[in-house]
Structure formats: structure tokens, C-alpha cells
């Protein structure tokens, strides 16, 4: 898994490529921690290039979401592929972490 960070005026976008799984949790944790240290108020996880998220990956997303909420910050997800969306729906993740299809919408969400 590879993660590229993009800093935008409204927050930080993590472009994730590969599978978000147990094996790659350290890479994801490190990217999130870096964003937190940079004072990020809105973290957008771009899942367009993620084919699979396992239970450990889901747990990480929820943990990050809870940690961000404690700091009055927010996490959003962008463009999950259909199978990833199905996995997330089964675990009710969209009720906890908003999902957007367009980057502009995700960015606007925080601004609103």
C-alpha cells in the first residue's frame, strides 16, 4: 500500500493505493499521525485506488474517526470502490464517517 499526502486549504487528502489491511496498518497509522501532527482539521481518505479493506482496516478508520472527533476534527472518505463500499455499509460505517463521490463535495463539507 502506498499513501500520498496532498495538502489543500481545507485539510489534508490521503490518496491511498493498494489494500487497506492488517498487513499495511502501520503505513496508514503513520500517514494519519503525520496529518494530525500537522494540525489537520479535516482528513479526507481517498479510497478510489483501494480494492479491498479488511476488518483491521475498518477498525483503523473508525479509531481515527473517533480520535479526530475528540479533537473537534473530522475524517471523510472519498470514492470507495463498490466492494469496499459494500463492506463499509455492512458495518454501518457511513453513519460514522461520511462518504463522498467528489473531492469538491468532501472539501465543502468541512467548510459548511
Amino acid at each position: 500500500m502506498q499513501i500520498k499526502e496532498r495538502i489543500v486549504p481545507q485539510g489534508i487528502i490521503l490518496d491511498v493505493v493498494g489494500d487497506l489491511t492488517y498487513a499495511h496498518r502501520a503505513v496508514f497509522k503513520a500517514a494519519v499521525e503525520k496529518a494530525k501532527q500537522a494540525g489537520c482539521r479535516h482528513l479526507i481518505v481517498n479510497l478510489e485506488q483501494v480494492r479491498f479493506v479488511d476488518s483491521a482496516g475498518l477498525g483503523l478508520l473508525v479509531l481515527v474517526s473517533q480520535n479526530f472527533k475528540l479533537q473537534q476534527a473530522q475524517i471523510s472518505m472519498l470514492k470507495p470502490q463498490s466492494y469496499v463500499r459494500e463492506i463499509m455499509s455492512l458495518a454501518n460505517i457511513p453513519k460514522m464517517i461520511p462518504i463522498y463521490e467528489r473531492e469538491e463535495d468532501a472539501l465543502m463539507a468541512r467548510a459548511a
Binding site: Y22, F52, D54, S55, G59, V62, L63, L90, N92, M96
Partner: protein, 417 residues
């Protein structure tokens, strides 16, 4: 940088014993003269008058450097070199061959037979010292390498021993966890139970049970711990203990699925590392075949009916611990004779083909449907075979479990332990 004629201290500040040099030379005057010179330089010098005696001394003393004359009676320098290189204890010794020969062919022969360097008998004092120093330097490096190799070997042996102990512990723990799982067969009259479970590691984090609650009810669940390995297995065993029938009945008065999930959700929060469980719980009323079930983020169970299309029994819901105030709602379905209910972990269908495509729930369902005419255990086995065939590998990347129960016609509500 030492000057020629000056012996450098190999490790400044550290007391080291003087290097030992074995000098093998049949000509007494030459031997005595060179021995005196080396002794003056601070070395411990051993002497031998031919190769045979030299070999005995070398075996006994393990000198740091061997200076050997080429031409000698009984055993000459080349034969001595041969003997040293064949000896397992001495084969890495540094040999300086003294010779009056300096023809390339002879030098080559000396190298082939095992000499490391050459010293002309007409060499200057400076050259002798330089070559002795070079030989001793190489000798120190070779010995250090040998010591490091031996230490590495003993560390490897220790590591292998520890690994074997850890593996044995894991096997014991895995056997214990397996003993917690229900016995295949007939947990109550009119119900057949079969299952197959392959943890991705020695210890798995997916666990399940099918148990008698009271004379009329059968409780069943499957749980999936996020992550893998020992930590996930321990957390699962802890939740499994909580989910025991007697514990739930004492705590809740029944095995009501939504109440079981509510309590489990309160007691098993998301860990600081993001670890959690998904859980599917069902309660079957044996006299009527009425199954109530609820799910906490679990992919669910598959109802394979003899007369109707298969259907998934699940609802979108948070896994355990995601939301401490979460409520879970039960659903209900009526099972008929010959119906089969399969509880499964996602590890059975989230298996990638070599090109990365997942096998998926639909293909799993097709495999279940294709096995309607075979026995319950054969159907489960064929699912595993199909999943393995899809990924073209025997071992699954995640814990894979499929638990099946089948209802027969002879259910009268009488339970067996």
C-alpha cells in the same frame, strides 16, 4: 601507521597476548637467527625442525602464523601446506612459505598447495617484518570471522530452540481453542451440525458455537476478531467465554440475540489499537423452527432452503465497540425441515485469485446451492475446495470458517446435552 620494524598494537588500550609464530626450518642457523629476530619484536616463537614435527606443534598450540621452509627432510613445506589445509582445526591458518625459489610456476604451485604468502630467504629485515605483520593481520581477521561465525551459529541454534518452544506453546493453545468449538454431529435431536475451520495462523480469531440453551432453544453464534495471531485469538476466547449459554442465561435470562449483542457491545469496546469484533447471534426455537437473529457488523449467515432460493440473514449494523450506545435489532425467519443454515466468516470468501479478484459472497452462495444434494459436511468441504481452487493456494489469508446446521423432520423439541 606503524613504521617497518615496529610491531603495532592491534588494539590500543587493550592488553592482548603476544601473537604466536611457529617457525619450521631444518637449517638450525637460519631458524635460530630468525627466531631471535621475531622474539625481539615481541612475538612468542615456537620452533620445529621439519614439517612432521611442525604439524604436531601446530595441532597442539594453534599458532597465529606459520612460517615454513620449502625444502626440508621428512615433510617438506608443500606437503606441510597440504596437511594443514586438510586439517579441520588448522585449515584456516596463515602460512608464510620461505623459499629460495621465485619462479612464477613455483610460486603458483605454492599457492595451489595452500601457502598464503612467500618470503624469500634473501629478504631484508624490513620485508620479513612487513610480511609477518601482514600475515598476522589476516590471521586476526580470519579468527575474528571464525569466532563471529561460531557465535552466529550458536545464536541461530538458540533462536531455533526458542522458536520451537513458541510453536509448541501455540500448538497447545490452538488445541485448547479447538476444544472449545462444538463437536460435529447432532447437538440436539433433529439437528445436524458440521463445520470446517482453517485459521490463517496457528491460532485463529474466528470462533463459533452451537449450544443448548434450554429444552426448546438452541443458541448459535459466530464471531470474528479483527486482526490476526495470538492477540486476536485471546480476545476471541475472552468473548467466547462471555457468550457461554449459562453466562447469558444468568445475565439476560435468555439467549435473545439483540440483548446478547447489546451486552457484548457494552463490554467489548474498540481497543486503543482499533481492534474489535463482528458477531452474528441466533436463537432457534426447536419446536417451531423459528430462528431469531441479530448481527453486529457481521457479514451474516446464509439460509439455504430446500424449496426456496438461498437468502442472507443479516442487517447493516455497527460491529461491537464502535458505538457504546448502539442498539441491535433482531429479525426472525422460519426454518423448515431440510433447511440448512450456514454461519461463516468473511475469510472464506474474501480470498483473492492470482489476479487479485475476490471470490466473493455470490460465488460462496453458488457453491452452497450446488451442494444441496450432498451431505452437509460435503457441502462445506466443497466450499473450502472451491475457495482454495480460486486462490490457487491451500492456506487462506484470513481465518476461514463455515458452520452448517441442518434441520431434519424428527424434531420434537427434546434436547440432548
Amino acid at each position: 601507521m606503524p613504521h617497518i620494524g615496529q610491531v603495532p598494537d592491534p588494539s590500543p588500550g587493550i592488553e592482548t597476548p603476544a601473537a604466536t609464530i611457529l617457525l619450521i626450518e631444518d637449517e638450525p642457523v637460519t631458524r635460530t637467527s630468525m627466531a631471535a629476530r621475531l622474539t625481539r619484536l615481541g612475538y612468542r616463537v615456537l620452533e620445529a625442525e621439519n614439517g612432521r614435527v611442525g604439524l604436531e606443534v601446530a595441532r597442539r598450540e594453534r599458532p597465529d602464523l606459520l612460517i615454513v621452509d620449502w625444502m626440508m627432510p621428512e615433510m617438506d613445506g608443500l606437503t606441510f601446506c597440504d596437511a594443514i589445509r586438510r586439517d579441520p582445526q588448522l585449515k584456516s591458518s596463515q602460512i608464510l612459505l620461505m623459499t629460495a625459489h621465485d619462479a612464477p610456476a613455483q610460486i603458483a604451485e605454492g599457492l595451489v598447495r595452500g601457502a598464503d604468502d612467500f618470503l624469500s630467504k634473501s629478504s631484508s629485515k624490513q620485508e620479513i617484518i612487513a610480511r609477518v605483520l601482514a600475515g598476522l593481520r589476516t590471521s586476526r581477521l580470519v579468527r575474528k570471522l571464525e569466532t563471529t561465525g561460531e557465535e552466529l551459529k550458536s545464536s541461530m541454534l538458540l533462536l531455533e530452540k526458542k522458536q520451537a518452544e513458541t510453536e509448541a506453546d501455540l500448538q497447545t493453545a490452538a488445541a485448547f481453542v479447538q476444544s472449545l468449538l462444538p463437536s460435529p454431529g447432532s447437538p440436539v435431536r433433529g439437528i445436524t451440525l458440521a463445520w470446517e475451520y482453517q485459521p490463517s495462523l496457528t491460532l485463529g480469531g474466528d470462533l463459533f458455537d452451537v449450544m443448548t440453551i434450554d429444552a426448546d432453544h438452541l443458541g448459535l453464534y459466530i464471531l470474528d476478531a479483527s486482526g490476526h495471531g495470538v492477540a486476536a485469538a485471546l480476545r476471541s476466547a475472552s468473548l467466547m467465554t462471555f457468550l457461554r449459554a449459562e453466562n447469558m442465561v444468568q445475565l439476560l435470562g435468555s439467549y435473545n440475540p439483540e440483548r446478547v449483542l447489546f451486552e457484548a457491545n457494552r463490554r467489548f469496546p474498540l481497543s486503543a489499537d482499533g481492534d474489535y469484533f463482528t458477531l452474528w447471534v441466533g436463537q432457534l426455537h426447536l419446536p417451531t423452527g423459528s430462528l431469531s437473529f441479530a448481527s453486529a457488523g457481521h457479514p451474516g449467515a446464509l439460509l439455504s432452503s430446500a424449496t426456496h432460493p438461498s437468502r442472507w440473514l443479516t442487517t447493516a449494523s455497527f460491529p461491537l465497540g464502535f458505538d457504546p450506545s448502539a442498539r441491535f435489532t433482531s429479525d426472525r425467519v422460519l426454518l423448515k425441515p431440510a433447511d440448512r443454515l450456514f454461519l461463516l466468516s468473511d475469510g472464506i470468501y474474501e480470498v483473492p485469485s492470482p489476479s487479485g479478484e475476490l471470490w466473493g459472497r455470490e460465488r460462496f452462495q453458488e457453491a452452497i446451492d450446488a451442494g444441496k444434494q450432498t451431505s452437509l459436511s460435503a457441502t462445506i468441504a466443497s466450499c473450502f475446495a472451491a475457495a482454495r481452487g480460486w486462490q490457487q493456494a491451500q492456506h487462506f489469508p484470513d481465518d476461514a470458517a463455515v458452520v452448517g446446521i441442518e434441520l431434519s423432520d424428527c424434531r420434537e423439541g427434546t434436547s440432548h446435552g
